[in-house]
Amino acid sequence: MSALIALVVAAVTFGTVLMFGTLGEILTEKSGNLNLGVEGIMYMGGAFGLAGAFYYEKIVGEAASSGFVAIILAILAAFLAGAVASAIYGFITITLRANQNVTGLALTIFGTGIGQFTGEFMRVKEGGFVALSNHLKDAFSSTIFPDFLKNIPVIGKMLFSHNFFFYLALILALAMHFFFSRTKTGLYLRAVGESPSTADAAGINTTKYKYLATIIGGGISAIGGMVYIVTTAGCVWNHSGLSGVGWLAVALVIFCMWRPLNAIWGSVLFGALMIMYLRVRIIFIPTEIYKILPYVVTVIVLVISSMRNNKEKQPPASLGVNYFREER
């Protein structure tokens, strides 16, 4: 039992990383932009998020630093990094109308490079080691609920013991669901992603919607990278752990069928699949097999959903296609 609980808790921690990455990409893709740069964006988020918290502590001093402020600054720094990177992507694809796949892949290469460089640069400059003080580490990874809730047997650990970021992602998923299904702006955004020419003819500013969704979506994805560094990686720059996480998020978007609510359980499931090799060891099975499980699951979901041919469970109809009013 306790092994299972431990698995769930660990899955949620890693799942939170994926949830941010996925939610951001869902927002972007709903506008019809397929941003394959998530991997790079999450790298940048990781490096800049860590930098935000680290330099904050360095400036105000360890004693005066507040966990809450550090969290806010890390989120802001990561979000900004992701937003800037996505703005570049947006400019190239929306305004210059370059191929989205190529631009996204280029952004992945660019973003991993920048993230890597920033992380290493900090490390070297600070004498070989970038680490936060223990009380900030604590602030990043401990729950926001009081002890008595956390101490309820079984449920307490499963529901109330997670870090702040998990609950933030949860609220974000709910908010996005509400946004897409209930608000006018959400409806218009979906129209842009489904059929930009229709949206345009209806008087919706497609360019504005595409830019905003892409930039905000990129910012959200970047927060995922930061969450990985300050929780799973223990507040030190760790590039190898982050590698592949962005791609996993892209796969997860498909797995969730572009629905924010599915992203909640989907990312926990993917989180579990990714860490299973650490917890549920079976001899003779190489760990690499475990690591491809999420992708295998995604392919199965894709096959099933396209076989069912349900009109509602499809990617935004104009995903990956640039829009130009005079083109036909």
Binding site: K184, R190, S195, T198, A202, G203, A317
Partner: protein, 512 residues
């Protein structure tokens, strides 16, 4: 100034690269009148109207509304000026409901189904149409989608309505309904522009006709003072004869034998029910029927695209041997040496690749003939040139993406390619849909030419007059059953109309 004028366009010019789509055009649109815009394929009708709808900006010239100069920068501006356009390809979001599509982009509209419903209902009552606001677009028929488009435009308070080939995909009954709505709107004082290639519709619905030719404005005439022949001459620029000659091919022989053909769709609904007929080489066999009576399934099951539940389809070779086609895929059919060509209803979906030029699209049909791994580019290029010449396709070059051609020219490329493959059986579904009158006749003549070469032509059509003039025999479908096969030289329109609605036709109806 005449206060009756809603919109005036003066000296409008629009170029796409080297193509001059509109060349200094003047046009007046009046309130309370229906104006038909007529012109051959690629003459610039859609382009001209798109400038009113804010899709394109004119390179030169000025638009006036009520005498005041007007600049329309975007579709939003157009709506604010009361101009609404229903495009050739509908602009609707498939996964949204009708109501969501209708209020899309409106500033001060709440997503409250009740108020939307009551406003929609008011519009529907006023002009007598029916829609269900909570229905999803992907569940709708073409004519329902069109209704949503019209309501959408009216909901925004449009006073000037532009309809780009609205009747091309409608059945005659649906067209009649649409015309009733349009007449109601005219009575309401709205200005209406309708683009259509069907001259009988032009004569029936419009007050005035404006004619374009190769991007230039030719003139406007009153409908009551003109005739289809006079309009065609204006459109083409010289006198043309509009009749199909129907020579008889002397040595007709059976080419395709279909017996008891039965097809069932995914939902278990019978689409074809015991269809039996023989198509002969050297004749044009027409297929008539109300839309959705099994025409599509008939052609697709013969070509191997639609699963057959029961029955036989046999191809008779030149030597008189019969080859069974049931259960074969299109590729296998081609491999057995059965020459079949098929011009499907859905042109860009099934027949052509939009981003490729004419040559590339010709190659799609013939790439198998190339030697080894290399493509044979030369003969497709020649073929493309031939089609370009003979069918007068309006395009700057054979490598120009077909997606950018005007609707009718896309169709010409497809038909031209299929005919060029020298088939033994040539099947066409609505091959002249969206084609101007002159080109339509060119296609009819091409089909007749094929017939005289001994090809067996199967022609699914909707215009009974054309079927009666063009075909040798007409097979009438009614709800998936063969209602009868008649001699087109002696049959009448009424007779066929009866057979379309009652299996067996008049005799059967009399017995009941």
């Amino acid at each position: 100034m005449n206060s009756n004028i809603a919109i005036e366009m003066r000296g409008i010019t629009k170029r796409f690269g080297k193509v001059v789509a509109n060349d200094s055009i003047d046009l007046i649109i009046k309130k309370g009148e229906i104006l038909s815009l007529l012109g051959e394929n690629g003459s610039g009708k859609t382009t001209l109207m798109n400038m009113l709808a804010g899709i394109y900006q004119p390179d030169e010239g000025q638009i006036f509304a009520e005498g005041e100069p007007l600049t329309i920068r975007s579709p939003k501006d157009a709506y604010e000026c009361g101009i609404g356009m229903i495009h050739q390809h509908y602009k609707l979001v498939d996964v949204f409901t009708a109501a969501q599509n209708i209020v899309l982009g409106l500033k001060d509209e709440k997503l409250d189904l009740k108020t939307i419903n009551s406003k929609v209902k008011e519009i529907c009552d006023r002009y007598s149409f029916i829609i269900d606001p909570s229905m999803k677009i992907y569940d709708m028929s073409v004519s329902q989608k069109q209704t949503v488009e019209i309501v959408k435009v009216l909901y925004r308070g449009a006073d000037i309505l532009i309809l780009d080939e609205p009747t091309a995909v409608l059945t005659p009954q649906e067209t009649e309904k649409l015309f009733t709505v349009l007449r109601n709107m005219r009575a309401d004082g709205k200005a209406i522009v309708i683009i259509t290639h069907k001259l009988n519709e032009v004569m029936a619905i419009s007050d005035e006709v404006a004619v374009l030719r190769k991007g230039k404005y030719i003139g406007t005439v009153k409908t009551c003072e003109t005739s289809p022949q006079a309009l065609t001459d204006m459109m083409v620029g010289h006198a043309v004869t509009l009749n199909i000659d129907r020579p008889k091919y002397d040595s007709q022989f059976p080419r395709l034998k279909v017996e008891g053909l039965t097809c069932v769709d995914d939902e278990g609904i019978t689409k074809l029910d015991g269809v039996t007929f023989t198509a002969k080489g050297g004749e044009i066999l027409g297929v008539a029927g109300i839309a959705g009576s099994g025409q599509k399934e008939l052609l697709e099951s013969i070509t191997g695209l639609y699963p057959i539940k029961q029955g036989t389809v046999d191809f008779v070779t030149d030597e008189g041997k019969e080859k069974n086609l049931v259960g074969l895929t299109p590729m296998q059919i081609r491999k057995t040496g059965v020459g079949m060509a098929f011009v499907p209803e859905d042109r860009l979906g099934m027949g052509l690749v939009g981003s490729m030029g004419m040559t590339g699209n010709m190659m799609l049909r013939s790439w198998k003939k190339g030697k080894g791994v290399f493509l044979n580019r030369k003969s497709p290029e020649e073929l493309a040139k031939k089609v370009w010449d003979e069918l007068e396709v309006v395009t700057p070059s054979t490598s120009f993406p077909v997606r950018r051609l005007s609707g009718g020219n896309v169709q010409k490329v497809l038909v031209g390619r299929e005919i060029a493959s020298l088939p033994k059986i040539l099947m066409t579904a609505y091959p002249v849909r969206g084609l101007d009158i002159n080109t339509s006749y060119a296609i009819y003549n091409l089909l007749t030419e094929q017939k005289m070469n001994g090809v067996s032509v199967i022609f699914v059509g909707e215009d009974l007059d054309v079927l009666l003039e063009l075909c040798d025999r007409i097979l009438v479908l009614c709800g998936g059953k063969v209602s009868g096969i008649v001699d087109a030289r002696t049959a009448t329109k009424e007779e066929i109309g009866f057979m379309m609605t009652t299996v067996g036709g008049k005799e059967a109806a009399d017995v009941q």
